[in-house]
Symmetry: C2
DNA sequence: TGACAATTCAAACAAATGTTTTAAATATGT
DNA sequence: ACATATTTAAAACATTTGTTTGAATTGTCA
């Protein structure tokens, strides 16, 4: 069926080939994030981009390729704007690195703009994974996961086994993602909850404190010699 | 346009009107949970139910009403099979009630059958809320939320303010939902993680211990008199 | 300017899908 | 058994949607 296909893919593979291509990427990012891949229509995307219906197929080949391009680009932008280490060196205290990790993650998800759109797209990928998810996990999520694991391992102490590190990592990430993934329910349950920058800061505080408390407890549980050390119960002046 | 419409809705409002209606509900539950409301086709549902294409409209009016019926029914079944208190009386120690809450929630989500389907449907509702979400929040989620809040409040002590209770409640629920909501990523990151009943138990253990450690810390932070009470640090023989 | 490639555009195509219609089949009550 | 209501079935309808087509337009370089 592709005998008559000469070259529908754009001759210029990537970059800023033209304004239409970028408008398309921008509009597609918005529409995909708003209604998801399936519900998004190329007509809606093209209209928002001020382009013709055939523009998607001309510049990207088909709708799915456009989606992959959007996902890749939004991922790049989000990580560039809010790097996971938030500028902290690896030698910084693990408590601070955890705080920075949590805050950067929350900002990446909740601050408006293309970074937030990436969060929306990823949330949809969780529910309905596309072929693009494998690449995202490999290039974005796994590096982030090992980075967090290192922080957690430093906090748990050397005697913590890998399973505990993994479980605790997930306990931390879960708290970050919850407000985003369950936003429709959170909004209905607690309409007073907002996501202003200040509120994001307070949220990062809570998640960090909640997690550090648990991690310090786990750490003390492993190294029995430290069990009655009162230092591990007080936490809050670590910055 | 509805002048010629006489009575497309079923004369028997609910209950076990006929085998076809139930087959439809069953098949629709499976298909909706698998591919979501939008991607599910009434043709696929009817085929799986062994019914004619027109059966959906005859018995439920339209596709959306069928979806609402599925959501309502799956919610009923899930809560009936795994009640949030897991048979524990309200006078039981808060630690035990928390453990029961976590375990029942995890089982509701991960054990197969109609109960798990409800979890799938709810996950999709989070990402793409339908009109049915308001009812679910009112009748299912909010009661569950106040129940958890009571447990958390008991653990935090009387001096904890509402905001802390709310935040800690979310920290607990988030850990429960994470493995479910982010399953595609978890599977790719840690293929060794399974969700057998035993693993679910261990997961419930971790979440409960992690949360109790943090909550006891918060509690001690508020009531400074309890700070050095060693009871709040040891927890692990609660069954 | 003129030829050639790249891009845009309007129209149409083909497939999928929710819904309706009309008739046949089945059950129900007398 | 007959009449009536209920349910099922096949076909068609109307709309949406991703994609293609071929002409028109624009840009580029000699």
């Amino acid at each position: 069926m592709c005998l008559t296909m000469v070259e529908t893919v754009p001759p210029t593979p990537a970059g800023d080939s033209g304004p239409t291509r970028e408008h398309l990427l921008e509009a597609a990012g918005t529409v995909f994030a708003e209604v998801g891949f399936r519900a998004a229509t190329v007509r809606a995307i093209c209209q928002q981009a001020g382009a013709n219906v055939a523009a998607v197929n001309y510049h990207f080949g088909d709708k799915e390729a456009l989606y992959a391009a959007v996902l890749k680009e939004s991922c790049r932008v989000a990580l560039e704007k809010f790097p996971p280490d938030a500028g902290l060196p690896p030698e910084a205290p693990a408590e601070n690195r955890l705080r920075a990790f949590v805050q950067a993650f929350l900002q990446r998800i909740f601050s408006g703009g293309p970074s937030a759109r990436h969060g929306q797209l990823m949330a949809r990928e969780m529910i309905e994974p596309t072929a693009a998810l494998d690449g995202i996990v490999r290039e974005e999520i796994r590096p982030m996961s090992v980075r967090l694991s290192e922080i957690i391992r430093a906090l748990l102490g050397p005697s913590a086994n890998e399973e505990t590190v993994r479980r605790c990592s997930m306990s931390v990430v879960s708290q970050i993602l919850f407000y985003h993934h369950c936003r429709p329910v959170v909004n209905r349950l607690f309409p007073e909850v907002t996501f202003t920058p200040e509120e994001i800061d307070r949220l990062a505080d809570h998640i960090t404190r909640f997690s550090l408390a648990a991690l310090h407890h786990f750490s003390a549980e492993n190294d029995t010699e430290r069990r009655d050390n009162p230092n591990f119960a007080s936490q809050g002046d670590h910055d």
